[in-house]
């Protein structure tokens, strides 16, 4: 059922994308500012902005998926039997969660490019 796949994508894609951007982003700053980091010739800003754009696109796609499922099931009640009841429930949840993860990615990506590079706080 295509609705099913869209619902799961809409739910799990954004958290996983943010998690990857967050961990890789943190790791990239450790490598950049650490004594033993390897020189790949890509500046930290390029790393962070690339991850932001790619990740951001995935999350936007995920939100579109969640919205499509939500709208297709908008006449379903919260207590309704599965699968529709469950699909609508998870799409509703995903709709809000995806906005949160997009905000998180924007904050992570923009903040790390605007901050000065390895100076301590």
């Amino acid at each position: 059922m295509r609705l099913e796949r869209l619902q799961w994508f809409g739910l799990v894609a954004a958290p996983l994308t943010w998690a990857a951007q967050h961990v890789v982003g943190f790791g990239a700053t450790q490598a950049e500012c650490g004594v033993g980091g390897m020189e790949w010739g890509i500046s930290n800003d390029v790393w962070q902005l690339t991850m932001l754009v790619v990740g951001g696109l995935v999350v936007v796609g995920s939100e579109v998926a969640a919205a499509v499922v939500f709208l297709r099931t908008r006449n379903v009640g919260h207590d309704d039997p599965p699968p529709d009841g469950r699909v609508h429930f998870l799409a509703t949840a995903a709709l809000v969660a995806n906005v949160l993860f997009l905000s998180a990615m924007l904050l992570d990506g923009i903040a790390s490019t605007l901050t000065s590079l390895c100076r301590g706080g």
Binding site: P81, P82, A104, D108, A111, C118
Partner: protein, 609 residues
């Protein structure tokens, strides 16, 4: 014989002490956790009151510095690992989750028992250190290099490392059990959209435990190896990193604090609909918020390290995530408040504790947001302002719902009603006491009073505030004693009640009080997220052996009927074996410990014949 008679005969365990030692009944295990954690809560509370008594006046000599170090370390370790977690997950979770999902037991009943015995063993292990005068004394977060062998040569920190590794096994097993139970043992018809919010909260906390504990385990193993085997994980002179301890600790530690409060959110979110007779506003958002708080909470750990000199470009990730982790909690607070306002609120004792919880949580949450600003955090690190923040959160957001939950489910566990007036009075005394105890800490913290000092000089203006805090501590004690006194007297003399004194929303209110050993004579078929508010149907009696339906994870469709294991000596024996292993490790008898571990493997093999 009737079906009920058959069920009773099959599910009733052997009598007496042997019955308790071999039990696999989730309700008995829940009670075992309950009593044990209450004793440990008493220990943690005593540690707190000793500290408060010492700090009531400047230049005091009630306890000396070395003893004080052990007090604050044990207090933190005990309250977090040996009170809140086992009380919420071990006691409330174990007892209630199967009841709320319409199941007859947890997915892995014997492993459930093992979790308890390991927990008990780890608690005895930790407090053995106190009896030997070697309790951990480097704080609950035990930073290196203070905790390294060079600066802590005694056994104190070895007890710390091993107690936490040992305790971690219990929580990991418990978390696994909850996840599988909540996903696979729900009654037919209970799809995810019809699953109680309490279950979402426990699912979130369990995922948190599963993914956070390995970091603590690795950290504690590294420290133990550095101390006793001569490795160099944290030894800067040989290429190690002292900050590595902090990173790993907080990768565990921050999710841990969400794990502390999320089950309590689940308790709150059960009490509110019962005492407002109204469905929870924005149910899907509250459900996902439980999971989001823990998930995003994995990404904020270095906000505990803002003052360590890490590059700003690194720290900024954590400030960003910390700002956003507030949002799921806020969604829940708004949903709860709107539910209370929308329904017909009866402010009985359980709801009073939840209102108190919301007030404390909002204050603690606001001070938490303040820490997101890195410069502010750097000023306030290691001051009493931090202590104020997290006690408002922990006492407010974890302990208040626990107390409320004790009152709420008291009739279900005992078949009697508690006395309402002493209940309400106990709430007000505790509420007043905890505010007196923790609010002035904001002020002295802003004024510069550091954490973990055993005394302070006069003339700094801190004395009066500290005295008020100590008085608040004793008032809180009085309130807590009244609370437990009320429950004890109610147990003996409370008015008898039937299955559903509150017209509660969830399935535990559809069965007798106290519940029979088999929980449900007829497995319910669920058609709503508030099954006790709808007509209930069901036709699965399943009275041959120890039968339990297994359903699909997302939709609650019946997949198979399983035979559950029951009554076994192996969990308690394995618990004893593991306790022996850890006791041998703390005295560095590695070979004998290895042999003991081998014996444990044999017990495990016998268990799985």
């Amino acid at each position: 014989m009737t079906a009920v008679g058959l069920l009773e005969r099959q599910w009733t365990e052997r009598p007496g002490l042997l019955g308790w030692l071999t039990t696999t009944d989730h309700k008995r295990i829940g009670l075992l956790y309950f009593w044990t954690t209450l004793v440990l809560f008493g220990a943690g509370g005593t540690e707190a009151l000793l500290m408060r008594t010492q700090l009531a006046q400047p230049n005091s000599h009630v306890v000396g510095p070395e003893a004080y170090d052990q007090l604050f370390s044990l207090h933190g370790i005990t309250m977090i690992f040996f009170f809140i977690i086992p009380m919420t997950t071990g006691a409330f979770g174990n007892y209630l989750i199967p009841l709320m999902i319409g199941a007859r037991d947890m997915a892995f009943p014997r492993m459930n028992a093992l979790s308890f015995w390991i927990f008990l063993g780890s608690g005895i292990f930790l407090y053995a250190s106190l009896a030997l005068g070697s309790a951990p004394d480097a704080g609950w977060f035990d930073y290196v290099p203070l905790a390294s062998r060079q600066f802590s040569p005694g056994r104190n920190i070895d007890f710390y490392c091993l107690a936490l590794i040992f305790n971690g096994v219990s929580s990991t097993l418990a978390a696994s059990n909850f996840i599988v139970t909540i996903l696979k043992l729900r009654a037919p018809g209970m799809s995810l959209n019809r699953t109680p919010l309490f279950c979402f909260a426990f699912l979130a906390a369990s995922f948190g435990l599963l993914f956070a504990l390995p970091a603590l385990t690795a950290d504690a193993v590294f420290l133990y190896l550095d101390r006793r085997v001569g490795t160099h994980f944290f030894d800067v002179a040989h290429g190690g990193s002292a900050l590595l301890w902090q990173h790993l600790f907080w990768i565990f530690g921050h999710p841990e604090v969400y794990i502390l409060i999320v089950p309590a959110f689940g308790i709150a979110t059960s009490i509110i609909p019962a005492f407002t007779q109204h469905r929870v506003v924005a149910f899907p958002l509250v459900a996902i918020a439980e999971l989001l708080v823990v998930f995003i909470g994995f990404g904020v750990w270095a906000h505990h390290m803002f003052a360590t000199g890490l590059p700003t470009v690194t720290l900024i990730f954590f400030a960003a995530a910390s700002a956003l982790v507030v949002i799921p909690s806020t969604i829940q607070v708004f949903a709860w408040c709107l539910t209370i306002l929308s329904g017909t609120a009866r402010f009985r004792t359980p709801l009073l504790f939840i209102v108190g919880f919301i007030l404390f949580f909002v204050v603690g949450g606001l001070t938490g947001i303040m820490f997101v600003a890195i410069p502010f955090d750097q000023q306030m690190t290691d001051t009493y302002f931090v202590i104020a923040h997290f006690h408002y959160i922990i006492f407010g957001a974890a302990v208040f719902p626990i107390f409320g939950g004790m009152y709420y489910w008291f009739p279900k566990l005992t078949g009697r009603m508690y006395f309402e007036l002493p209940g309400q009075i106990s709430f007000w005394i505790i509420f007043a006491g905890t505010n007196l105890l923790f609010f002035p800490m904001h002020v002295v913290g802003l004024d510069g009073m550091p954490r973990r000092v055993y005394t302070y000089p006069g003339g700094l203006g801190w004395g009066t505030y500290n005295l008020i805090e100590t008085v608040g501590g004793y008032i809180t004690l009085a309130g807590i004693l009244l609370l437990f006194g009320n429950l004890v007297v109610s147990y003996v003399r409370g008015e008898r009640v039937g299955r559903d004194p509150w017209h509660g929303p969830t399935l535990e209110w559809t069965i007798p009080s106290p519940p029979p050993e088999y929980n449900f004579a007829v497995i319910p078929h669920v058609t709503s997220a508030y099954p006790n508010w709808e007509p209930l149907a069901g036709d699965l009696v399943l009275d041959e052996g120890h039968q339990q339906p297994i359903t699909t994870a997302a939709d609650g469709e019946l997949a198979e009927i399983a035979q559950m294991p029951h009554e076994s000596p192996w969990p308690v024996l394995l618990g004893l074996g593991l306790a022996l292993v850890f006791a041998l490790l703390v005295v560095e008898k590695f070979l004998v410990a290895g042999i003991a571990l081998g014996l444990c493997a044999l017990v495990l093999a016998a268990w799985h014949r």
